[in-house]
Symmetry: C2
Subunit: 277 residues, 2 copies
């Protein structure tokens, strides 16, 4: 079980738990691969990803004292040498900087990811990839990963203008899928899509002005589905260079939420590719 | 144009704008049909719904002083007798109780809605209705309305255990669709679905254990799609009594977000009903 005897923290400024301080604010800054995982579901995914030899490792746990007994099963899934810190609710809230009703946190670290060209080269012959361009909203990034995992995507590839999917909120909204789904975030959208096209991927850019109805696509064996931001959508250059698909909807309304749109499109394409059984 | 000369507020405790104070907290309490609309998109929908003789009226506007000039077009869409209050940023933030970066608020009121039986009786012969059961998360309620509007639903009907869609955050996530979409919130799920069945609706309950794949349904002319909560899903009694549909996905994962699931199901059904052109 992780950590043997838990260590109680009584001073919010204790250096042993310094990485957990003010996580709401510090969340928005770079962390050299470190990230905060929150809640039992995300921590389970972290333990699972680490046990599977994935790209992530847990470095320490911080748990609300009165939840400790109920979490022994979760703790058993982490390696034995990870320290486990516990704190009473007021101390925990003072550390985190807000009321932490979930009461369970982990500090994780992502190992240096492979270069995106390597990531693409390692994809199977039959592959479905979700690509995000310019998606800066943490909830939306989290939704992309949740839906990619739900609909059997092999990887999520993000251009450099997307936000980091390891932000606490993105991680939470993804229900931890960021930790188990192979992904990369590197380069411009054009570079990314060019590399995928060179690797034999059909590129389908989703847009309200797309040419083909998403439910009518007869996809090949390698498909990349491309999502842009809600406001501006994908750049013209991308829509002109690659195939484009739309999701029919009632006229005159704001377009769909990008997370929902990704779910609809992934379901349609994964089903047409015969990936959903 | 709404309000003639705007009235400047300099004291956050000014009784003329009392309804806007501490909206983050008070949001969670009943308001006798009153609600707070936030941001230009939701306010546009409010003006549109009121102009169309809908169920809602705007009672007053509160605008960040330096945004006033840029919002004259929006103001023109409201009736002339609505007072417009303005305030500098620190005053506005002190009124609302948090930093209000959108800088534009309206106090609206919903007129007493028709009884749900009356609502059902007024639906057209060809009708698609979205039903929510036990959905208490404000974001999810907002998503249901956004997707219902996006995919041509005629109404959203909620059981009494759902949260009020007029909560500020639900309204915002719905992109204002709560104000234009006919809806009701009344009675138990069983009563609601019984009334729809009596009115000739095919009831399709969405569940990970559903019997028919959502994309394979050949719907009739009147369809009610039923969504439950993410955690527990729909009660057995409902799944046993009515038809059930599933959305195929990768095994072993947490189910889809309820908003995303509603989008996928509504798109599939609205398309199969020939409603999406």
């Amino acid at each position: 079980m992780a950590g043997g005897t838990p260590i109680e923290i009584t001073d919010p400024a204790d250096p042993r738990i310094a990485e957990f301080t003010d996580i709401r604010e510090r969340d928005l800054t770079g962390r050299h691969g470190q990230f905060i995982a929150e809640g039992t579901v995300v921590l389970s995914m972290l333990a699972k990803a680490q046990a599977a030899g994935g790209d992530v490792v847990a470095e320490k746990l911080l748990i609300l004292k009165n939840r400790l007994a109920g979490l022994s099963e979760l703790r058993e899934r982490f390696p034995a040498d990870i320290p486990v810190y516990i704190a009473e609710a007021p101390v925990l809230d003072a550390i985190a900087g807000f009321h932490l009703h979930r009461g369970v946190l982990a500090l994780g670290r992502r190992l240096p990811p492979p270069d995106i060209a390597e990531r693409i080269a390692s994809l199977p012959n039959d592959a479905l990839v979700l690509v995000g361009c310019g998606i800066s909203n943490h909830d939306n990034i989290g939704s992309l990963f949740r839906n990619a995992a739900g609909f059997t995507a092999d990887a999520v590839l993000l251009d450099e203008t997307c936000c980091d999917p390891l932000y606490r909120k993105a991680l939470r909204v993804s229900v931890g899928s960021v930790l188990t789904m192979p992904y990369g975030r590197q380069g411009s959208a054009e570079e990314l899509l060019g590399a995928l096209a060179s690797a034999g991927f059909e590129i389908w850019a989703l847009s309200p002005a797309g040419k083909v109805e998403i439910g009518a696509i007869a996809p090949g064996r390698r498909v990349a589905l491309v999502m842009g931001t809600e406001g501006e959508g994908l750049p013209e250059a991308i829509l002109n260079r690659f195939r484009s698909a739309r999701i029919a909807q009632a006229p005159g309304l704001d377009s769909l939420n990008v997370g929902t749109a990704s779910g609809i499109a992934l379901y349609a394409i994964a089903r047409a590719m015969g990936r959903l059984g």
